[in-house]
């Protein structure tokens, strides 16, 4: 039978990480295998073809579509400057001229004598891909990008907002159960990635933007507050492109939920270290979760790939509850009964028994826990 529980988010003090950094379309890789790179170094670049601007020449200078080719002063492939005349018609025995100026600087892409449209293309847009994390170039995909490898402390979040950043970690709360409130944020947080506990308030988010804090890692957030910050309701879980002034990584979920002790402990241990993080989240086939990567020093022979193992839950396995009741609490598996059990909602499900931190033994659907990976 399939594993009926969520494999936990990865949280570890030390792991060998590999990250592919790929261009959106073919281009040039500017590093080679073995190069040591910093997060902000450019590893590959390309040019995105410019936008296409159609201009209906026939309408603009009052000629038949079939005459457009003849009246064009520029041909397919020719470069044009903004306001340069590209087509000209003469009327009334040549006494009046009608000129058409190019609305952009670019080139002529196509001339149609059927519709009278001329397509102009803007100059290409340069695209650069950065390394994102400090490490070593372990593979080069010719014309496409690279793979960067390093050893890092690594925290996967459950949900996030906004794109890639790097910054120094600063823990501003004294426990994983504390709220991240506005009074905890001051000038010393500027340009940093700050760490909160169970929850971030709306006022704290506003202060973060004002103080130019680069990123926040926190246990929970209220959806109402996110809606206010974003100005809209998140519809489907595809994030990472938001422009809110900081990058957010939520480690536990929505509402006030204590940050997992192990997560808080790692962040505390690596305070003042440089980290790379992003809030990109996609929950569907090809799941993507936000990440916090804290590179640590390593020797090259340490970079040996370990096969990921999917181990099932066992008696004694640590778990975290990921739905009400007891959302966010941690315990250890005490029994894994095979038979289906009817829970309060009358749903017949596979369950497990677990002893929680307060000593109480609970019965809970296996789908509502996640394994805590050590």
């Amino acid at each position: 039978m399939a594993q009926a529980y969520t494999p936990g988010l990865k949280i570890t003090k030390s792991t060998i990480l590999k990250k592919e950094r790929i261009l959106p379309l073919k281009g040039e890789v500017v590093v080679k295998i073995g190069d040591k790179v910093k997060a902000d170094d450019i590893v590959a670049r390309t040019e995105l073809p410019g936008d296409v601007i159609p201009v209906n020449v026939a309408n603009k200078i009052a000629i038949q579509a079939s005459d457009v080719q003849e009246k064009m002063l520029k041909q397919v492939g020719d470069k044009v400057q903004k306001d340069e005349v590209i087509a000209r018609s003469k009327t009334f025995f040549g006494l009046f001229k009608s000129n058409l100026k190019s609305p952009i600087t670019g080139s002529i892409e196509n001339i149609s004598s059927i519709t009278g449209q001329v397509l102009l293309r803007k100059p290409p847009v340069p695209i650069e891909v950065k390394a994102f994390m400090d490490g070593i170039v372990s593979q080069v995909f010719e014309g496409e990008g690279v793979e960067i490898e390093n050893k890092s402390a690594y925290i996967q979040g459950i949900f996030g907002l906004a794109g890639e950043i790097t910054g120094e970690i600063k823990v501003v709360v004294d426990s994983p159960n504390s709220e991240l409130t506005e009074d905890l944020i001051d000038e010393s947080c500027e340009g940093k990635i700050i760490v909160g506990g169970s929850m971030i308030t709306y006022a704290a988010m506003q202060k973060i933007i004002k103080m130019k804090v680069k990123g926040v890692i926190v246990g929970g957030v209220d959806d109402e507050d996110l809606k206010k910050i974003l100005g809209y309701d998140i519809g489907v879980a595809i994030t990472g492109h938001e422009k809110i002034g900081f990058t957010l990584v939520v480690t536990e979920g929505f509402g006030p939920i204590k940050m997992a002790d192990s997560t808080f402990k790692i962040l505390k241990e690596f305070e003042r270290h440089k980290a790379s993080m992003h809030g990109k989240t996609q929950i569907r086939a090809g799941v993507m979760r936000p990440e916090v990567i804290i590179p640590i020093t390593f020797k090259e022979d340490e970079l040996k790939e370990k096969q990921a193992e999917l181990t099932g839950l066992k008696i004694g396995s640590p778990i975290r509850v990921i739905r009400q009741p007891r959302f966010g609490e941690i315990g250890n598996v005490t029994a894994l009964p095979e038979e289906l059990v009817v829970v309060e909602s009358e749903t017949r499900v596979r369950v497990l028994k677990a002893e929680m931190k307060d000593g109480v033994e609970i019965i809970i659907p296996r789908a509502n826990v996640e394994a805590i990976e050590e």
């Binding site: 399939a2 969520t6 073809p49 936008d51 296409v52 601007i53 159609p54 579509a65 892409e109 196509n110 149609s112 059927i114 519709t115 449209q117 397509l119 459950i158 949900f159 209220d222 959806d223 109402e224 809606k227 809209y232 309701d233 998140i234 519809g235 489907v236 879980a237 979920g253 929505f254 509402g255 989240t281 929950i283 569907r284 086939a285 090809g286 990921i322 739905r323 009400q324 009741p325 959302f327 009817v342 829970v343 309060e344 909602s345 009358e346 749903t347 017949r348 499900v349 809970i364 659907p365 789908a367 509502n368 996640e370």
Partner: protein, 632 residues
């Protein structure tokens, strides 16, 4: 050909799970033997869909062995064996697929509500997800349309436009826009993007000139040869062909899977290939088959984690429509249900108070941890309230799409003139609908079948006399593709093993009159006669088991109708199910939905908070939907 088939294996390769069913002919009747499933293996690290298929089929073999048939095998040397030889193999192996996000298409037409809409219908009917509809009048500037094509990267584009002999200039304009975008296919960069042109025959040369070199252009019959006529068949067939040749052939492992999908052709050992169908196309196929064979009108719904698909077959001509509400679902897009319908519409169905903040957080937590299940009764009630809204919204979209052809000049007889029949009118008629079939986790796996019946009724508002059913284990896709080679096997298993008959809903259409009698009902049940004058605002649940029938005489009041006309008595035979007969007099009144900004039919729920909660609890108890003590 079909009489020689004694065993069939059918698989459905979904984005997350591959499901396999084994059907065998026992005593002359096709029946489902067992069902197995395994994770789909189309993505890394496996990159081969056949591994998941073999795993699912191995589970089928194991389950057959548990049932006592120890020697039965389907796989030999890592392959599915066709035809069956002794105890090994099957006479037919068929499959559907939606792995890798299914078939994603863009369509284009000259006028959005005419050829654009016809092209959309053709693509949806073939089982595609329509990412966008381009039209010369879609209010976007050409550069915006070009950007959109470049950004979306569809699997293929269906270009239509112009009735035969009509505009060629606008069609050429669309071709130029597509050409300027220079679209690249989503899967694999080694082949050109397939484009089907199914528009004005006179524009074919212009389209060829523009697109032949840059794309893999196919030309087929115009899907709207005249304004009054739609001819979607050739375009749909072409979509299927290209789906097989391009999209499927690019997906990891599908070449092998396509070679395995075979059926015997005669009494001997000859076999031929069977095409793999896109999953929703196959579901549509079984719906159409059932509607045709039983001469009935059908609505089917599949509510998933990300999307809600609705299928319908209406009118004497058995017109088939399918819509996909891409962002209405119960996990991945649950948050979008809230964004679309608003908190008020969701909480309308909830018989207890809950701070908005908590509801919002619960919905978002379900979105980010989609595999969790409601442990607490209150969370179940809330999830089912959200499901009602997702289904209601998806059905509103479906009704707006399933319409008579727009832009036509109709010859009307006198009765049509009085009924104000116009072009573009919805053909969905809840009064003439015969059966409503639900599937998808929230409906098929509801802890009580009564909850599935309640969700279907509250969301779809059936009128008159309507049968309700759910697909127990979602095998409609497999049966849909099976119907293409053996209709008898597909329909037999559909009726006997796939559908769970919930029962019949009786509901008057029209006005709600507070405190008055809505219906006079007499039903001759096996254990006695039920006779009652039922006031407005009530639910009655009567026991009538699966396979049992009862004669019913129903007289609607206050201008209401149950199928025979306003205030007219209806005498009919109604069939039972695991839930029974549900009589619903809560009204079907037209209300303005503030959030959606449209007039929609709703059941009458009191505005006053205390009365609303009291009514909801009364109905939920009458439905026997939840334990009484949870509703206190």
């Amino acid at each position: 050909m079909s009489k020689t088939i004694n065993s069939i294996l059918a698989t459905d390769c979904g984005s997350t799970t591959t499901k396999a069913i084994l059907i065998e002919k026992i005593d002359g009747v096709y029946r489902l033997i067992v069902r197995g499933e395994a994770p789909t293996t189309v993505e890394a690290p496996f990159d081969d869909v056949t591994k998941g298929v073999l795993n699912a089929v191995e589970e089928v073999e194991d389950l057959v062995h548990i049932k006592g048939n120890n020697g039965r095998l389907i796989i030999k040397d890592g392959q599915i064996v066709v035809p069956q030889q002794g105890e090994v193999g099957v006479d037919a192996y068929v499959s559907t697929s939606s792995a890798g996000g299914g078939l994603q298409m863009m369509v284009a037409g000259v006028v959005k509500s005419m050829t654009g809409e016809s092209a959309e219908r053709a693509a949806l009917g073939a089982g595609a997800i329509v990412m966008d509809v381009l039209a010369t009048n879609d209010k976007r500037l050409p550069y915006e349309q070009i950007e959109r094509i470049r950004h979306l990267r569809p699997d293929m584009i269906l270009l239509s436009g112009g009735v035969n002999g009509g505009t060629t200039k606008h069609v050429a304009e669309l071709a130029e826009i597509i050409s300027a975008a220079d679209p690249k296919p989503r899967l694999g960069s080694s082949y050109q993007l397939p484009i089907i042109f199914a528009g004005n025959v006179k524009a074919r040369d212009l389209v060829k000139k523009e697109l032949k070199d840059k794309t893999d252009l196919m030309i087929t019959d115009n899907l709207r040869p005249t304004l009054e006529q739609e001819n979607l068949g050739p375009a749909r067939d072409k979509i299927h062909d290209l789906f097989m040749e391009h999209v499927m052939a690019q997906a990891p492992g599908y070449k092998n899977l396509m070679a395995w999908a075979r059926t015997i052709t005669d009494e001997g050992q000859n076999t031929e290939n069977v095409d793999i169908m896109p999953t929703p196309g196959a579901v549509g196929n079984i719906m159409k088959t059932i509607a045709r064979l039983e001469n009935i009108e059908v609505v089917g719904v599949d509510i998933g984690g990300a999307t809600t698909d609705i299928f319908s077959v209406f009118t004497e001509d058995q017109v088939f429509n399918r819509t996909v509400s891409a962002n209405l679902g119960m996990s991945y897009s649950i948050s979008n249900v809230l964004a679309s319908t608003g908190m008020k519409n969701i909480m309308r169905w909830v018989p207890f108070e809950m701070p908005e903040k908590d509801v919002r957080n619960m919905i978002k937590n379900k979105m980010i941890r989609p595999t969790t299940i409601p442990h607490l009764a209150k969370e179940l009630i809330l999830e089912q309230a959200i499901a009602k809204e997702a289904l209601r919204l998806a059905f509103i979209q479906h009704k707006e799409f399933a319409v008579t052809l727009k832009g036509t000049q109709q010859k009307r007889d006198i009765s049509e003139a009085f009924s104000q029949a116009t072009s573009g009118k919805s053909i969905v008629n809840m009064m003439s609908l015969d059966i409503l079939v639900g599937s998808g986790g929230v409906l098929s796996h509801a802890p009580r079948r009564n909850q599935a019946a309640m969700m279907l009724i509250d969301a779809f508002l059936p009128e008159g006399v309507t049968k309700l059913a759910v697909d127990s284990i979602f095998m409609m896709p497999q049966l849909g593709v099976l119907a293409t080679i053996n209709e008898e096997a597909a329909t037999s298993v559909f009726e006997k093993d796939c559908l769970i008959h919930l029962g019949t809903c009786i509901a008057p259409s029209g006005k709600y009159k507070q405190g008055k009698i809505a219906l006079e009902v007499k039903i001759e049940l096996p254990d006695g006669v039920f006779e009652e004058e039922i006031p407005f605002g009530e639910i009655r649940l009567l026991k009538l088991d699966v396979g049992e029938n009862a004669k019913a005489t129903i007289i609607p009041k206050y201008g209401n109708d149950v199928g025979a006309g306003n205030n007219k008595e209806l005498t009919t035979t109604i069939s039972g199910g695991v839930v029974g007969i549900i009589i619903d007099t809560r009204g079907r009144t037209i209300e303005f939905d503030e959030k959606l900004g449209v007039e929609t039919k709703r059941i009458h729920i009191p505005e006053n908070e205390t009365d609303r909660v009291k009514s909801l609890k009364k109905w939920m108890i009458a439905f026997q939907a939840y334990p009484k003590d949870q509703l206190k």
